[in-house]
């Protein structure tokens, strides 16, 4: 069991669905996890598994009117965010929970200067005079390692590189000194050389402020570098959660195992790149049993009939697979 010490965010059985003309898309279908102070939890999975929707649900910014949170609880320091009114949520966003989006090219409004946009964020959460707000803004830029902050304040987004824009987005995100930061694939759109710098920057900010970070990504390399714990998501549900090392060394869900196996290694001779056959099931037409059944190497009849519950498989490590049942035949 997870101890209650230092828990900043607890998500219980979150369900968020999208109501479209083709049916109900169960993007987030019973997701639960815990975030602790100073800890980074990675949320991994392939495109379309629901990771971004999970992130958006936490701040209640699902695309309207199609998206709706249907069930569950999101407990931020004990308070349920889903029970709050919209004006209460506005006080939470930016100030207590913040988010970095994926594409720096579109995250910033092209018609306003960088300075305007940072000041706007600061102005929401600090009641200072104009001059000290401007000083704070420059300090915020300095903290994300943006050089010559006074000039940059007057610049427009299109005048900056992608990496720099993403730093500005980072500065905006931590302007309100939040307790939780959700980073939705922040480095996917950046050059590889810049990615490492950016990740190091995030780590530094986290160390300084004891932020709890939810890091959404599909890249296991980044997970290894950044995350203390990992939650693997598939077809709207979390299939395995555990400490990074343990999960990498001994994955306890066939999907995690297959993902690990498909990461190409530099050493050794590879005749053919391993990949996982098949496609995830469509989110508006889900099977009753385990959703990975059709692609699983170890599938059994029971898998197709009943969805496996989440079972503990190690220290702070759990997975949802029938093979982990104590009475099951040895693997």
């Amino acid at each position: 069991m997870d101890s209650a010490a230092g828990v900043v965010l607890e998500v219980r059985d979150l369900r968020a669905y999208l109501y479209t003309r083709w049916g109900v898309v169960r993007a987030v279908d019973g997701v639960s996890f815990v975030l602790r102070e100073g800890e980074t939890l990675g949320l991994v999975g392939e495109s379309g598994c629901g990771k971004t929707m999970t992130g958006l649900s936490l701040v209640r910014l699902l695309p309207e009117p199609a998206g709706r949170i249907v069930d569950g609880q999101v407990l931020l320091e004990g308070e349920d965010l889903l029970a709050k009114s919209e004006s209460e949520m506005r006080a939470v966003r930016g100030r207590r929970v913040s988010m970095i989006l994926q594409d720096p090219q579109t995250s910033l409004n092209p018609v306003f200067t960088i300075g305007d946009q940072i000041l706007e964020a600061l102005g929401q959460h600090h009641v200072d005079g104009e001059r000290s707000l401007a000083a704070r803004a420059q300090e915020a830029l300095r903290r994300v390692k943006v050089g010559a902050p006074e000039q940059r304040m007057r610049a427009y987004p299109h005048q900056m590189s992608g990496g720099m824009k993403q730093r500005v987005v980072g500065a905006i995100a931590v302007a309100g000194e939040p307790r939780v930061l959700i980073a939705d694939e922040p480095t996917t759109a950046l050059d590889v050389t810049i990615q490492l710098q950016y990740l190091a920057l995030l780590k530094e900010i986290q160390a300084r402020t004891r932020l709890a970070m939810l890091f959404i990504t599909h890249d296991f390399g980044i997970v290894a570098r950044m995350c203390d714990r990992v939650a693997v998501m598939y077809a709207g549900r979390i299939v395995e959660t555990g400490p990074t090392r343990a999960l990498f060394r001994a994955p306890r869900h066939p999907y995690t195992e297959a993902l690990m196996a498909s990461v190409p290694r530099l050493e050794g001779h590879v005749a053919r790149l391993p990949s996982i056959e098949g496609q995830p099931p469509p989110l508006h037409d889900l099977p009753p049993g385990c959703r990975f059944a059709d692609r699983c190497a170890y599938v059994a009849d029971r898998c197709r009939r009943e969805y496996p519950p989440t079972m503990p498989v190690g220290l702070a490590h759990e997975a949802a697979c029938w093979r982990n049942e104590p009475s099951a035949p040895s693997r």
């Binding site: 003309r21 109900v24 709706r68 029970a83 919209e86």
Partner: protein
Amino acid sequence: MARVEERIDESALGRPRGDLARLPWVSFAIIAVLVLVAVLAPLIAPHSPTEQSLPDKLLPPAWEAGGSARHLLGTDVLGRDVLSRLIYGARVSLIVAAVALLAGGGIGLIVGIVSGYLGGRTDSFLMRSVDATLTFPTILIALLLAVSLGPGLRTIAIAITVLIWARFARVVRGEVLAVKTRDFVALARVHGCSHLRIMAVHIVPNVLNTFMVLLTLHIGFVIIVEASLSFLGAGIPPPTPSWGQMVSDGRSHIASAWWLSVVPGAAIMLVVLAFNLFGDWLRDWLDPRLRQV
């Protein structure tokens, strides 16, 4: 304002709705009627559109006091039957629209393809011309043409062509820019195809969809332009009846004979509405990306 809600019963949502499923039946009907009327005019019209009958002048429509069943929509100041003139006027509208659209659309298509495909200076120059044409009240050129060349089908066709080519050119160019980056074009170059061949054989079929949608979207516009030019005296000259001209003629009698202007104008509005709705539907069905057009 997402609040926690009860589990929603999915079966209550029913089958997927789609506004694409709703065909514009009324528009189809109006367009079909229009085309039939125009084609079968000599057979349908109760009277000749030019036959004057002064004793019968200024008769109101059949449902008003003083109206007659022989002239369902009344008569004008020369005793000519409004309904018959309306029917023959449909011909004029459609013929002018067809000619002008083909000419203007054709030129626009070619300019759009050449400009988009060749790029560079050619593109710059052509697009500047397009911009200039679009931001200029080109109807003035149309009027100038009417006065210097004399009114008639040729003049009005040229005039409307001048008015619409630029709209086609701009949108087609956009499509071409998207198509030309696709691999099969590069492949054709590798195989040594000439630019002309690539444009004709590879680019044209891929922009045809968009072109069709543009044509239908502009039918209404062209009909209004023709009517406006006729109203201003720069369209098809009398005695051929044209709706715009009928509205103009009826102006001086508006107080005593409202139907002379109101009826043909209502016909214009109805027809243009039908074509516009049809065009919108076609665009949504074939190519929703064109929504900004």
